[in-house]
Amino acid sequence: MSSAHESVQTFTPREFHRQAHDALGNPQIRANFRRAMDGLMAKRRDVFSDWDLETLRELGANIRLRALAKLPDLLERLEANCQANGIQVHWAENGDEACRIIRGICERHEAKAVIKGKSMVSEEMHLNAHLEEAGIEALESDLGEYLVQLNEQTPSHIIMPAIHLNTDEISKILHDRTGTERTRDVDIMTAAARAQLRERFMAADVGISGVNFAVAETGTLCLVENEGNGRMTTAVPPVHIAVTGIEKVVEQLRDVPPLYALLTRSATGQHVTTYFNMISSPRKSGEHDGPQEVHLVLVDSGRSNIYQDDELLDTLRCIRCGACMNHCPVYTRVGGHTYGTTYPGPIGSILMPHMMGLEETKDLPTASSLCGACGEVCPVKIPIPDLLVRLRRESVGEGRGNVPGAGVKRTKTEVAAWKGFQWLATHPAAWRSGMALAGKLQALMPSRLGPWTEYRTAPKPAKVSLHALVKRHQANKADENEETR
């Protein structure tokens, strides 16, 4: 996918291996991600240097945990306060239902053109395609999303959707799709996109956005952004629809500053974003701008199932900063599209199995060396490696069986192999004989061991195991002691 011109490529988590193979063999993809991730990691490190990061992360985790502990009450409170402010609240069990609700609102307003601010939840439910089927055009306005949409792709990163494309590729996309002059000047390209999108903001019948934090206490929707397209989307069209997962609620307004501080610093290494947009009502009587109607669509899509389990619950603390992917050595190598899911990288690998089932996503929980970099940087301290291991357990049918598709990877061969390992490792005499035998048979060891030896030499069993070496060493020492006595 190096060229903007190639036919549209679709990605699926089922094809993780093939997609990883393709990405690894694509120098452009490799270079784009490596450069971007190195930059993002360095910026995050710098911006947290003057903070008591651990205390702040502790507070962030604590706020999210408190919100989850009170989740049903907070959702009701959010709903009541939003309604009191004039915001209409809708609930959807899944993405399809949410799409139908949004389409219904659009149709009631005879909307033909929808402008969108960045919303990963809307990506999750494939809202654009759904609206297009109903004859409603949905145009992305975040610059990265706009570029990705022009190129008929999906985002490859949750914060920086077009991070897989370089300047030249983007120039080509803008030229081919919008007639923008061919240039390497980012200012010219940005100005062109600004001009194109401004007309669309003015013409849009409905604006659709996501939500970063929904404050139960005040019925306030908070949106974090740098570009201003979020403000445009939520203030220019006559109708604003905000769509979000049920876990995005926080209890009180004072919970927002720490989470916002963690989000911007973790995501892009910024002290603060250009805009923090807090919406608490539609246009009031006497006010001169802003939408006449504001809707909030709360989407479940498997979240309430995750909520049932004390360990899995931590998944829902996520504030969608993307730091886990920025620091993931696997994501950095294969890029976002390889995962074939709305949320790529470590957070995607612990979230998507709940949304798509383990059958579809069975290669994702194993697509990690468990290096721990994701958990180390997570601003709300989600133990991502532990959750990856938990989903591996579920995959092989040794978990609680409460994740869709549990047990899908359990095969007789693999079970037999691990049972064999268990037997050997719980029979010390057999183990010692095995080690001794391996040493004796050293010469017979195959020099090729499947995938391992494609890239490395095979390790050779030592002639004498540590068990035997220690015995010998202890005997020698006893002799020495005997002699020196």
Partner: protein
């Protein structure tokens, strides 16, 4: 059963039982105890680091500074409110000049095209600022609606030095935001920007390309 009922029921009847809600200690986001000088310096350092422009002026002479900014930036058409003292004083000071003053206190539907295409700058007051992050905070009003700080290519914001506080948390607490939120509350930290093209920063992608802060000091600075 509606979706709402189903979702809430599942959440309430949680398999692993009710969860304990921890208390939160907010000390890390407050208690900076910066002096007014530190606040000012930090605010200016941070907002200029993201391309915001800060112009110091006295409280009485600020409209002169405004006129200079308009002149320097070639602003011919300025949108502004009417009732807020900032707007009123600006109107008075600019009445005789050749800058066209555009009324922002009217329904946007009646002047959308003008706002998007024929307005060089928007002038707003601010309620205060945050030193820690270099942010202005605004609660748009019928007099100074929310698009005034977004749609025109240049945003000129008037800030009083003594309204800069330490942290966002401090502002929310000190001003009792939770007691009554406006339709729209905003933090603005610099002009609109993007890094979506290969991490190269570009300004003015959707909102203003420039943010000019007229920072008013109660007394003449030496």
């Amino acid at each position: 059963m509606t979706a709402r009922d189903n979702i809430l029921k599942r959440l309430r009847e949680r398999t692993d039982g009710p969860l304990a809600a921890p208390e939160s200690d907010f000390a890390v986001v407050t208690g900076r105890d910066w002096s007014q000088e530190e606040r000012l310096a930090r605010f200016e350092r941070l907002i200029t680091s993201v391309h915001g422009e800060v112009i110091h002026t006295s409280h009485d002479g600020w409209t002169k500074a405004l006129a200079e900014v308009l002149e320097a930036k070639g602003i011919r058409r300025l949108a502004l409110g009417r009732e807020h003292p900032v707007a009123a004083e600006a109107r008075a000071a600019l009445a005789e000049g050749d800058v066209s003053l555009i009324d922002a206190d009217r329904d946007v539907e009646s002047w959308r095209h003008e706002q998007f295409h024929d307005t060089d700058a928007g002038l707003t007051s601010t309620r205060g600022a945050i030193a820690e992050t270099g942010s202005l905070w605004l609660w748009p009003t019928p007099d100074e609606p929310r698009l005034l700080s977004l749609v025109p290519p240049i945003h000129v914001a008037v800030l009083d030095a003594d309204t800069i506080e330490d942290t966002f948390f401090d502002v929310i607490e000190a001003h009792g935001w939770a007691g009554g939120m406006p339709t729209n509350a905003l933090l603005i930290s610099g002009p609109s920007k993007t890094a979506d093209i290969e991490q190269t920063l570009a300004y003015g992608v959707h909102g203003p390309r420039e943010l000019v802060v007229l920072l008013r000091h109660a007394e003449e600075r030496p």
